[in-house]
Amino acid sequence: MEPVIPIIILALPLTMFLVLGLFGHKMSHPLAGVLGTAGMGVTMVLAYITAFTYFFSGNPEFIDADAHTRLQSIIFNVDWLAFTDSLVLRLGFLLDPISALLLVVITTISFMVHLYSNGYMRDHHGVWEKGFQRFYAFLSLFSFSMLGLVVATNIFQMYIFWELVGASSYLLIGFYYTKPSAVSASKKAFIVTRFADLGFLLGILVLSAYTGTFNFTDFTSTEVAEGVYRVSEGTAEGIRAMIQNSAAPMFMGASVLTWALVLIFMGGMGKSAMMPLHIWLPDAMEGPTPVSALIHAATMVVAGVYLVARLFPLYLMEEAALNIIVVVGALTALYAAMVACTQIDIKRVLAFSTISQIAFMMVSLGVARPEFHHGLGYMASMFHLFTHAMFKALLFLCAGALIHAIGSNDYTAMHGLRKHMPITHITFLIGCLAIAGIIPFAGFFSKDEILTATMGHSMLWYVWMSLVAGLTAFYMFRLYYLIFWWKEHKVPEGHHAPHDQPWTMTLPLVILAVVSCFAGFVPFGNLVTWNGEEMFDSVSFFTNFKALDWSVASISLAVAVVAILIATAMYKKENPLPAKMKNALPALWRWCHHRFYWDELYMFITHKIIFGCISKPIAWFDRHIVDGTMDGIAYVVQRSSYAIRSLQSGNIQRYVWVYLIGALLLGAVTAICLM
């Protein structure tokens, strides 16, 4: 493939960032909005062309038609920084199933958000939000960074863009920079993910120091033609053998490769908000809602999943690393789902739901094994990443529409909106059905694949994840009923009743709702698998439907329906059931409501321990001990000069006395010595 289109895909958002960032304040608001949106629209079209070419052109660069295997193809790769002869940091464009998939996801959601923000970023009277141009500049920066991240050809390029998405997330969370809560949320997000990135960096250093390369293809694939690679277990085995044959294959009881992979996964935990590094994500909801939809629901937060998927053949080599991923994912999924049941702020419910759903993807990757249905878990994880991006962005954009109409984030201020905002109501309901896993909406298929893969691995995690899936359906419908049902609030006099939004906001909702209805039918098994091999011989619209394992599907469907029924019973109308539940399990409710006190724990660690017990003593030590010593030396010198100053008094009589005494003493000493 000619590198022109891929280059434009990356260059266009970057150009938009520079143009809007440098000259945005001189532009009119509509111009900046249109420019940003158009730029993203073109990028989206180009990304679609690229993905379409990759998946369907049948070009030998992209697919080995005889073996029915999709290949990895390096479109371009430019040297950027040569650390050593072999460790060269390159900036390139790797096209393979998952990067093509992510190109589509990112550009689609990003374009929807760009379009939506044209309506969202002004109030009911059409007055533009302050810093509107800056907002679009940052959105473009984010899109550029995220695209750069997914097409990375080597792990260090991924780290570069990993940091850049972190910074753009920081800038966007803190968009309302005069608001102290937004400022501290952005700071928290950056520092928590930075801490995780330290692990990522160390992992990269360990891995590259042993293998002498950064390239993904060197870790996971064999070259079949120039610039074209095929994922093979053999290469990953080779890497493992290389580390085992080195002088120190073990470190503190675990193999070096396990260490490297776990450290790299730590970076993924930070970005993907896995427990215990999840605390930044709920606070990140301080940013404008379209940003939450783009960054904190659909794209950036799945970077951790993407990272593990990218290195999946390596992870396959180390059972221990995969098990850690499963445990972390499963715990996070349950935790986040429980917390989501008790939150009041609708964006926070969605945030915890995001954490929980990403944990599903992680678990799915962790249980994936090539022996079981061609690594079904891997495919399911990527499938869920895709469907989740669509319906979660939809839910967030609906939440944005609600917040825009009501002016508050709490469901207590909403209630009964289904009559006033019919479009938002329907689209939100579709989103809820999709995430709850009701047939035939998108989430049903992807979640079902995940549960099947989990069952193939272990019964315990299957039951566990099914329970979480039930909780998901429950809290989503709780939210749905609390927003759209119940008795509506009286509109105060002189105010408009809440109403649906302008077309710029409605259109993305409708598009995403349609996608959420049908995304489940995409025959993912033939597009994205861990080693590129196609799962089915032939595909049709009903491939996924036919491939369902009904023993799993019927159970998960039943769980979801029961959960929805419970939610209906408890929340459709105002009734005493929720209060009874709360009183029956007061401790559990309190812990969930306070998010298991993780934030308090972190506050204690950062403020009391790091600031109070490390930084302050060090600063004191520096001023009083280290600097005190220097001042002390100066003081001693000064004092001693004062002390001997009187010797040079200029008093002749004293000089004579000293002279005489000295002479006598000298004479005496000489005399004694001579005797």
């Binding site: 040569a82 050593t84 863009f161 005069t178 950056f190 520092i191 600031f611 060090i618 600063a619």
Partner: protein, 508 residues
Amino acid sequence: MFSNILIYFVIIPLLMLAGFALCRNDKQIRAVAVIGSTILIAMSVWLLVDYLALRQAGETAEMLFTGSWEWFGPLNICLAVGVDGVSIAMILLSSIIVFAGSFASWKIDDARHFFMWLLLLSTGVFGFFISIDLFTMFMFYEVALIPMYLLIGVWGTGRKEYSAMKLTLMLMGGSAFLMLSLIGIYYHSAPEGGQLTWNILEIAKNDAISQGWQYFLFPMCFVGFGVLGAMFPFHTWSPDGHACAPTAVSMLHAGVLMKLGGYGCFRVAMYLMPQAANDLAWIFLILTGISVVYGAFSACVQTDLKYINAYSSVSHCGMVLFAILMINTTAMTGAIMQMLSHGLMTALFFALIGMIYGRTHTRDIRLMGGLMKIMPFLGVGYVIAGMASLGLPGLSGFVAEMTIFVGSFEAGMKDFLAGAGSLRLVFTVIACASIVITAVYILRVVGKLLFGPVQDEHHLQLTDATWWERLSVITLVVSVAAIGCFPNFFESLIKFTFSPELFRAIGL
């Protein structure tokens, strides 16, 4: 003598000095400063291009543009000059900062004398970077240090006399060690009966310093330069000195003068005494490793903007010495990159702090807030400087730090696998941890100073940057971004110096 381009890096500042003496008003002084510093930048770019062309043509000598003119025969003291990629990088850095500094001190009181002392300081700096004769090098080093006393003592703020005295005395203390070690090197510069010399290249070629003498001279030399490089525990002049210095002096001092320390450490200490450098590196690795985290932690709780930056400089400059001590091509290249990067971004920081202080008349972050709304240009500049400091890709800090980490880890791994202890590895991991602490203190300042509600209503009347301030900031931001976006150019310029064939320490 005058056919050598390097000499003009000393002559032009001196001519500018004379020019200031002749000027009649501030306008003329500014004109001289701007013209002179522009010529300096142009010359350094020319030098860079010329140097690269020569290297392209296959020139493999260690130093190019060499020249040597006898100055004092009996002791064989010469004015010997010569440059390699590292010195060129440093010369480029110095000229950029002198340029930006001239604009940053546009409205200073008593401009004539201020600029005269500033240019004397610059003469010393340029002279130091072009010299390859230990004696003239040391002389220029002192020329660069002394004007600092007056610049801080006269044009400073706060406890300026105390700080000026402290800074000068501590650096002079370092110089005393340094002089001893340089004289020591001189007396062992040639094998028995040979002609003693101060010329670095000849000393290196003779390789006559015995191991015992290396063990004695290396620590003195490293500490002597290390004081200027803000090495723990000899760094305490830095916070006080910076806090009281006027803007341009802080810029030049943190941006360039502290680099003299790092440059000296590798050009003299590591290069001439590789054996001792290798054997005794562990002592200084521990000290510089401490510097890196210690400076960062201290910066977390400071409330004065300049103190925060001074401690952050301790951390970043600690990284420079730390990386030099790894004795590894990649890490040492990273060290020089870090010098460039730190020089530019810290100059940017001090320029911005000076501009903010000039408006709000306070540097206490507790008394300020929400300045982004009032002075967006300075605010954005500060955020960019902060992002460079915490290592955002695309700006200079990232490439420098990553090169250091990759190189140090490689060196540490080599030690570890060879069973030579894990000190390097452990300290590399500790140094890596500083990226998190850096993020903490940078974001803390940015959050308090620029974001949030406006703290003081009087600040609402303040104005944004003037054109000369903008020019100063833009120059530095562009330089920081240039290094961050095109690192390979700079790294390959520097790396040649550290090839095992040329750099004796690495060839061990």
